[in-house]
Symmetry: C2
Subunit: 202 residues, 2 copies
């Protein structure tokens, strides 16, 4: 499928760096056909954007539905990264495309971010209502902070994998990351007992 190959290449290199001819070659067709089906490269890009936004909406819906069912599970803190890891194969181009969408994507990116922010606010409110978290002195900023922390994993995936030695979106890496994040969110950064020294790890 032309659109899937375009999605993969756009995610990998960015839409500007990919030529219509490369997409056509990857899909095993001629460049003319790509334009014939989508009108133009911009049309193709928009089709891919809409496709990914659709997938994402489905994921987000399932995520918030799931958190209603079991708000005590760690993933109900609204972790997009975890939802991505759980619903998508390890080599899916979707995470990278979401990244591009948030960073380059003009209007689609803003739409996506706003939807995420609303979801993050709702998640924080739900946790607060359940007594599992406080909305804090500045709930808007707290919701944004939690969302930004979550997105950072997506945006910095490659760099983090580089320094940590584990892809943070793999099952193992996610577990490791989530455990640490949960520790901080539960008790903050402070040591449990100020007089008792920490064990030195690494």
């Amino acid at each position: 499928m032309i659109r899937d190959e375009a999605l993969r290449l756009f995610a990998e290199r960015g839409a500007d760096a990919v030529t219509v001819r490369q997409i056509a070659a990857a899909a095993g067709v001629s460049a003319g056909l790509v334009v014939h089906h989508f009108g133009s490269k911009a049309g193709l890009l928009e089709a891919v954007d809409q496709h990914v936004l659709g997938l994402f909406d489905a994921m987000l819906a399932e995520l918030s539905a799931g958190s209603g069912a079991d708000p005590l599970a760690p993933e109900s803190s609204g972790s997009l990264a975890e939802a991505v890891t759980r619903h998508l194969p390890a080599d899916s181009p979707i995470p990278a495309y979401l990244r591009r969408l948030l960073l380059d994507g003009g209007d689609a990116g803003r739409q996506l971010f706003r939807r995420l922010f609303t979801a993050s606010q709702a998640a924080l409110d739900a946790l607060s209502a359940a007594g599992l978290a406080a909305r804090g002195p500045d709930p808007l900023v707290r919701a944004a902070f939690l969302m930004a922390n979550d997105l950072a994993v997506l945006l910095l995936r490659d760099h983090l994998a580089d320094v940590l030695g584990t892809d943070p979106l793999s099952t193992d890496g996610m577990t490791r990351w989530t455990a640490e994040v949960l520790t901080v969110y539960t008790a903050g950064l402070l040591p449990p007992h100020p007089t008792e020294p920490e064990e030195g790890i690494q």
Copy 2:
């Protein structure tokens, strides 16, 4: 100066989306001169990369030196965003360029990220030694988490400004953001008293 105009345009639109002719026009010279001075567009890009990396190193050095002097100050938690805000004019293209460097920049980006990660580890160690934070069960991940949270402000600046109504790298926005982050890092997300309901704000 040609290099400064290139820096500004690269930061704004990304290196690939800027032409040598645009840079030349912005600097008030001919396209030929740009190539004459820097050999090629790639050479210019490398020169700008090195320039920004140099500026950044100076900032990082001053940051860690400052944290040694007063490790109790909020900014000594190693906040890159705050260092950027403090040392650079509000309309500086440097934050946006750092963003591009981390996201697109191949080798320079990786270098930058590694340097940041090392600094983050050192900051966490220093805070731990001072009894102000724990290295946690997985210090590597904790250092990465703190750094990623910090970088997220840089990477998502525009989107955050959009939903919050304040540029998080402005003085006001930074104050607001830092206060909330410090609250979470100090006490976690949990409400101070489980039975006592939160005040509803917003």
